[in-house]
């Protein structure tokens, strides 16, 4: 068989067994296919874990599944006259390289962020209320009074979008108002509330 000249006899026997299962799988033998995939899974796990030592076991498993799906998708490209392992390894290495490229692109797009004042857990966000003229925002009674004093349209918009946390689409469906009207109403309501609470 081509490409097998430099391989050990045990490897050749193993390859012949895998090739036989793959041939059977190509002709629709589900049992042979399941057996083949089960034999390949720990080998793939080993190859991937060795090549990408920094990966968590769950990430390794994701990559194993990715390679199995890739193998399944292109199983027609296996030529029964050729050795099996080079075919499998070409797919596995290609998928690993793809995943490494994806990872590199992902990390290149990520921006390291320090803790910012706008993060809710930061003390500045919670103590420096004067900055926003909102020292009375923490007073629920005052807020409730201010909301009750809003015109009905604005009050409804605030109740739905801010208190009930409905989406614009849901609020529009529930109230019969258009999304544009809702946006305007909630903006005006927030301005009015800010003014009312600052005065108090």
């Amino acid at each position: 068989m081509r490409g097998q000249r430099n391989r050990k006899p045990s490897q050749q026997t193993d390859d012949r067994m895998l090739a036989m299962h793959m041939r059977a799988a190509q002709s629709g033998d589900a049992q042979a296919y399941a057996k083949l995939l089960r034999v390949l899974t720990p080998r793939l796990r080993h190859i991937i874990a060795n090549r990408r030592r920094s990966l968590q076991p769950s990430d390794v498993e994701d990559l194993v599944q990715d390679v199995l799906l890739s193998l399944h998708a292109v199983r027609a490209t296996y030529d029964p006259e050729r050795p099996f392992m080079p075919w499998l390894l070409a797919i596995a290495h290609n998928r690993l390289a793809d995943s490494a490229r994806r990872y590199a692109r992902h990390t290149a797009r990520e921006i390291e962020m320090g803790m910012s004042d706008v993060t809710f857990s930061e003390p500045a966000t919670n103590t420096d209320m004067q900055t926003y003229g909102a020292q009375t925002y923490g007073d629920p009674q005052a807020l409730r009074r201010a909301i009750r004093a809003l015109p009905p349209g604005q009050r409804q918009a605030v109740e739905m979008l801010k208190l009930s946390e409905m989406s614009l689409k849901e609020a529009a469906a529930a109230s019969g108002m258009t999304i544009g009207t809702l946006k305007v109403s909630v903006h005006r309501a927030m301005t009015a509330l800010r003014k009312a609470l600052t005065k108090e």
Partner: protein, 226 residues
């Protein structure tokens, strides 16, 4: 999803598949699909009046044979690029006929220069070549794309560039059967230039034509793996 469950689903839903033919056999099939269309285009556009005489000319025969050999070799290399485990040396297969093609045209330029002098080697615009090669190469290019998508997208840019080279080169073979432009410099610049431009464009489209995401998504759909 657990790996064992994925294996069960894949095995249970796998349909029988016919192994893809070897690259040279795929190239022969691609050629068999392309030739009738090229013949039809040449017939519809009407062959050049001196075609029979041209086939008797050694230079024309060599250039056309080299262009055809480049197309076939590029097609075989493109198919090899989509088969896992195939030697990457196959990708260099079109280099020899391509060198022969460029060499024959280069030699033609030198001969024209020696015979007629530099004055007759002037370049004239011949914008007909690019759209004509696209027209003749359309069906070969579509057939190539469909056939490549049956393989594995191991190197999408390279495989599609080689496929584009094959389609454009065979398009150029067809073009010269109805376009009476034989000045070697003009052929080299406008026709071979168009072939390279189209192969380059194909290379840029490689990831859109061949990618694992779409192949795996359709495999998932077929296996109903969510």
């Amino acid at each position: 999803m657990e790996t064992d469950r994925l294996i069960r689903t894949l095995a249970e839903t796998a349909r029988p598949v016919r192994p893809l033919p070897p690259p040279l056999a795929s190239a022969a099939l691609w050629l068999a699909l392309s030739i009738p269309y090229i013949a039809l285009v040449v017939y519809v556009v009407s062959p050049r009046p001196d075609l029979a005489a041209k086939f008797g000319e050694m230079r024309f025969a060599i250039e056309q044979s080299a262009a055809l050999a480049t197309a076939i070799a590029a097609a075989a290399a493109a198919f090899a690029a989509t088969i896992p485990g195939y030697s990457r040396k196959m990708l260099a297969l079109p280099a020899f006929p391509l060198a022969l093609w460029l060499g024959a045209l280069g030699q033609g330029c030198v001969e024209d220069w020696l015979q007629f002098g530099a004055g007759d080697l002037r370049m004239r615009p011949d914008w007909f070549c690019l759209p004509a090669i696209v027209l003749v190469g359309t069906v070969p290019a579509l057939a190539m794309a469909v056939m490549l998508r049956r393989g594995a997208p191991l190197m999408p840019g390279g495989a599609v560039a080689l496929g584009g080279l094959a389609a454009a080169a065979i398009g150029n073979v067809g073009l010269r059967l109805f376009h009476a432009q034989d000045a070697s410099l003009m052929v080299l610049v406008w026709q071979v230039g168009s072939v390279f431009a189209l192969a380059g464009l194909a290379s840029c489209l490689g990831r859109y034509i061949l990618n694992w995401d779409s192949i795996i998504a359709s495999a998932r759909r077929r296996a109903a793996v969510r």
